[in-house]
């Protein structure tokens, strides 16, 4: 069965500092990988996704993520955070098959930005 682990429940960084949010997955093959962000009162917004090919993917809002097969990881990074990045971040996996996809989510990491 698929599973996703986000080891950090809460992270605090200073504005302008770099950020890395960790995500590890368990799956028999290479799954499809996603990062979503949820701001208060908002739905889950897709930041980026990985299906195949280049293991470094670029997303919206200046985020990027790197797929490392050997580590079963898909960590999210941003070189310099802004106060507006404060939100909850979810890593998710999907099965690499055709069909009505279900996503399996991690527990989420809450990001707080210090001014």
């Amino acid at each position: 069965a698929q599973s996703v682990t986000q080891p950090d429940i809460h992270i605090t960084v200073s504005e302008g500092a770099s950020l890395e949010l960790r995500c590890n997955y368990s799956y028999g093959a290479t799954p499809y990988l996603f990062w979503y962000v949820q701001s208060p009162g908002q739905g889950l917004q897709l930041l980026l996704k990985y299906f195949s090919g280049d293991t470094l993917v670029q997303g919206i809002k200046g985020f990027e993520a790197e797929f490392k097969r050997s580590q079963s990881s898909f960590n999210l990074r941003k070189p310099s955070v802004h106060w507006s990045d404060a939100a909850e971040y979810f890593c998710a996996v999907g099965r690499p098959i055709q069909g009505a996809q279900k996503l399996v989510f991690g527990q989420g990491t809450r990001l707080t930005i210090n001014p």
Binding site: G41, G43, L44, F51, A100, Q101, L103, V104, Q107, G108
Partner: protein
């Protein structure tokens, strides 16, 4: 920009009562989903729906749950006899087509509180 909407934003009900959570997916989307997140836990898949029938459901989605697309715009989740453990945030999502790399768009959620 088109978005998924959900009503109500917060629903409070007594244990044993029926509730209906409503979602309006993006208008040209064909695949619909419900997920839920119990406070402090992961976002969990409940059910996927396509062509007026359930495509897949999780073990959480027992006989107390049902989904319906009563008209061309709404997608509903009904819980027949609510339990305390049904208290959670419920997210609706929709996807345009059955293409593996398509994105699920999420609504802002309905917070259900069962007393």
């Amino acid at each position: 920009e088109p978005e998924v909407t959900q009503t109500p934003s917060h629903q409070v009900t007594q244990m044993g009562q029926e509730v209906i959570l409503r979602c309006v997916p993006i208008s040209n989307h064909l695949y619909f989903y419900w997920y839920r997140q119990i406070l402090g836990q992961k976002v969990e898949f409940l059910v996927s729906f396509y062509n007026n029938e359930i495509s897949e459901k999780s073990e959480i989605f027992d006989d107390q749950f049902s989904v319906e697309r009563p008209d061309g715009s709404n997608f509903t989740l009904k819980i027949r006899s609510t339990k305390l453990e049904d208290s959670a945030m419920y997210f609706c999502a929709s996807m345009e087509r059955n293409r593996v790399k398509d994105e699920q768009f999420f609504g802002p959620g309905t917070r259900l509180t069962v007393l």
